[in-house]
Amino acid sequence: MKMRRTIFPSNWSSISIATMLAVLISTQTGYSQSSADNDMVTIGLLLILIVLIIGAVAVASSNVIQIAVQSKQTNYHKDYSEEDGLPSRQVHQLKKGMDILLKGASKNKFTEVHTSRYALQPFNFHNIAPIPKVVVEDGGEVLAGDPLFYDKQHPDVFFVSPVSGEMAGIVRGAKRAVNQVIVLADREIKYKKLNSPDLKSSDRLTIREFLKKNGGWPLFRQRPFNILPDNEGDPRDIFISTFDTAPLAGAMSAKIDGRYEAIQKGVEVLHKLTDGKVYMGIDGRKDAELPRELTEINGVEYHAFDGPHPCGNVGVQIHHIDYIKKGDIVWTIGVQELITLGNMFLLDIYDAQRVINISGNAAHDPHYVKTYLGADLSEIVPESFDDPGIRVISGHVLHGNKKGENPFLDFYTQQVTIIPEGDQYEMFGWLVPQSMRPSASHTYPNFLFKDMKYNVDTNKHGEKRAFVMTGQYEEVLPVDTYPQQFFKGIVTQDIDRMEGLGIYELVEEDVALCEFVCTSKQPLQRILREGLDYMQYEA
């Protein structure tokens, strides 16, 4: 290993010299006060020694930093051996993170609920204007796959109806932003025939135009920023995470619903869209359930991940497979979105079926529900919407949206969590808690009982404070960065720091655990989104 001293350039040396001068002066005055039994020669020698030692420590520590940095760097680029034409399965062991075990896991029971209303919610997509152009008039008939609206900045990208039925209007929020575009569903869904181009013979442009026109485009998300993919530019690679480690996440095998052909077809489409690789992150944990639909896909490079949450997050997986450098564009797609994509070519329809799992300690009957994208959750779990003391979340407890007046399933979520609101006071709650709650802190005996499952509520358990504790976020974020310095960089709008510490890689769900463990109750996901928006604006 080459040792270079680049870490402490001239400003360090000038500072250390200044310090030494200060030490010199102060020490000399110190001596002049004391008795004269020390001669000046000894004093001089002592001073030289101090100077030498401080210098030596400075140089040594700079080299140690270099060594630490370089030894860490080897993690960044891994070589993958290929044997007999089959890609070997690389297992990534992630140590950092935390599994939050909660009560209310979904039972292995399936129901099919076709709700009467479905909606698309423009705020689910980060880089479209809050007021999109709706192309269907109220009362107009739509088929599943007919366009509902488009964004004025991307006039060729259509957002399509997940079901067939009658256009039931839009719901506006603050500043006339369109919050929901609602469709009253038919009892029997009629699909629009998409006339998909032949995969083998068509070029990339044709496929891209087809996807934009028929609602395939929003299935993807682009990193950096976790946004709708740009019109220009091909993705370097496409990443799929096939398992979810979030609290109370459902089993992916249940959500795939046996649609192997659609996944395989979807992967073929992905290869049409990128010159790079299609990576599939699969569950490498001990008791992993690996259905054939996920493990026998041709044309993907498999990477297994073992570790606590968030190792199932695609962002974390990208970091460990081939991280996003400045200027890189990668796309990600979820498994259920991939099925929709595959069926656009396989069955020639826009099939927006979603299997979601209802979970949470306030859920009456936690189980799996087969429904469609944008379903009205108040018809699936009506009892939870009636009770103001209960919060329904589209998503999981760490990352998701509270549902209330807007009861529709969010675009990219496949889980619904129902937990009680925690709007009660607790006497000396910080000192002698009266209920068991999950905590990463070792000031509670929780860490001794690793398999314990908890009831939760939405209480904040404290007030917001300035950043005080250090080293907390690092323990739950398996990404090679300095999270606290990163967030401070966002707050101070320090672009260099944001870029250097990984704003192109991280999205809200990746830092959700940091937000959970934060002693100071900082809203880290919101801070990160502000940073992402700022970077997008600057770009």
Binding site: I7, T19, T27, G30, Y31, S34, T42, I50, I53, S61, A68, V69, K72, Q73, K325, K326, I393, V397, L398, H399, G400, K402, I419, E421, G422, D423, Y425, E426, M427, F428, G429, W430, R437, P438, S439, A440, S441, T443, T458, K460, H461, E463, R465, V468, M469, T470, G471, T481, Y482, Q485, G500, L501, A512, E515, F516, T519, S520, K521, Q525, R526
Partner: protein, 416 residues
């Protein structure tokens, strides 16, 4: 509980007044607020908050408080040559310790919390918990006889200029408790250094000097103890011949380890029945507190371990050099003297002023260990260096973090 809550809610003062700031501080102390998580972002929060974090440190300090209080009395009676056994005259020593410690503790909090409350009101912030720890640390690092007005001045200086001027809890550059001590150290050096200050209750530590008791001892406690039929404070007692108030470090500076062991035994220094700042003397109790901080992950083990390592390395180097008797004190004995343990466990690990990166913490602790030992051994004016070493490294910590973070950033940008 509900009735209490209702009653307290009823007496809530008008918002924006200093009364409301006070009320809010006490209310959130009594009840965890009913705030719920935002509609976006995380929907559940960890049960830890800053109050609990800070209180854990205060709890870890309790053993030091108990021992420190008792040791004030113990040292006092050692000087008088009565009740020389550790548990002899238990009630007298405890009572005497309390009369010395409580004023320090109360005035620290009155002044410190007063300034905190004032600033919280002015800024419209809730009261932050930072002073819980600073306020618990400050009495423990002062000599027992420190005049109260000096303490108040020092606390005011530390909280006002050291913390509030930078924006409050979480924003300060230097450790607040150490700043208070540094203030006294530089402004009134004779009250915090030398052989005269570590034994409470005497004008001068000279053989034959008479003890000085106040109202508490001569009237209050003596009446009480008379009633119980216990031994009482004797206002005519004098310091015995041959007693010196010098700390082990002062002796070591004069004549090396031999001179120290003439007066103090190693086990005495280990268990802490020696003169010194109130909370610093008992090593096993500090180590117990350190274990608690490490297990609860509130104090950084990286700083403590690397600090210990740095101090050992430096004293070994001095052993090799050996130009003065002090340098020749064996390295393991250097650790028995002075306030190294208290400083590295409670002062250096302050998360706000220490390095923020894990690797930075290692360097930070190591350098504190080294520099503190250098100052202790080479500085003749005052043979102890942890306060200066930690304040110096507090200043350097952001710089270390900067370069460590920078190296991470370079790695990412270089390969772009």
């Amino acid at each position: 509980m509900n009735k209490l809550l209702k009653f307290i809610k009823k007496i809530e003062p008008k918002k924006g007044t200093i009364n409301h700031t006070l009320y809010d501080g006490l209310f959130t102390f009594l009840f965890t607020p009913n705030d719920t998580t935002t509609p976006e972002g995380v929907h559940i929060r960890d049960r830890i908050d800053l109050k609990r974090t800070m209180v854990m440190v205060v709890l870890a300090l309790q053993l030091c408080y108990l021992f420190g209080t008792y040791n004030i009395g113990h040292q006092h009676f050692q000087a008088l040559g009565i009740h020389t056994g550790f548990f002899n005259g238990f009630h007298l020593k405890l009572a005497y310790g309390l009369t010395k410690l409580l004023p320090l503790f109360i005035w620290t909090h009155v002044v410190g919390l007063g300034i905190e409350f004032y600033f919280a009101w002015k800024k419209g912030h809730p009261i932050e918990e930072g002073f819980l720890v600073s306020g618990a640390l400050i009495p423990l690092i002062m000599p027992p006889d420190l005049p109260i007005w000096m303490l108040c001045l020092a606390v005011a200086f530390a909280v006002f200029l050291g913390k509030e001027a930078f924006g409050g809890t979480g924003m300060n550059i230097w450790n607040v408790a150490l700043l208070a001590r540094a203030f006294v150290f530089f402004a009134y050096p004779t009250t915090i250094s030398g052989d005269q200050v570590w034994i409470a209750g005497f004008e001068n530590i000279l053989p034959g000097a008479q003890v000085e008791y106040g109202w508490w001892q001569t009237s209050f406690f003596n009446t009480l103890f008379e009633w119980f039929g216990w031994a009482q404070f004797d206002p005519s007692a004098t310091i015995i011949d041959g007693f010196t108030g010098a700390t082990p470090l002062a002796l070591a500076y004069e004549g090396g380890w031999d001179k120290v062991t003439e007066i103090y035994s190693s086990s005495q220094m280990f268990w802490g029945t020696i003169p010194g700042s109130i909370g610093e003397t008992s090593k096993p109790l500090i180590i117990l507190g350190a274990l608690m901080l490490i297990i609860t992950k509130i104090g950084s083990w990286r700083i403590m371990v690397s600090g210990l390592f740095g101090a050992i390395v430096m004293s070994m180097l001095f052993n090799l050099w050996g130009a003065t008797p002090f340098m020749n004190v064996p390295w393991q004995d250097q650790l028995l003297m002075g306030s190294f343990w208290f400083a590295i466990v409670y002062m250096a690990t302050d998360p706000v002023t220490a390095a923020g990166t894990n690797f930075g913490k290692l360097i930070y602790g190591f350098l504190i260990g080294m520099i503190g030992m250098i100052v202790r051994i080479i500085n003749p004016a005052y043979p102890e260096g942890w306060m200066l070493a930690i304040l110096f490294m507090n200043t350097m910590a952001p710089l270390m973090d900067h370069y460590i973070v920078e190296s991470n950033m370079k790695k990412r940008l270089k390969s772009a």
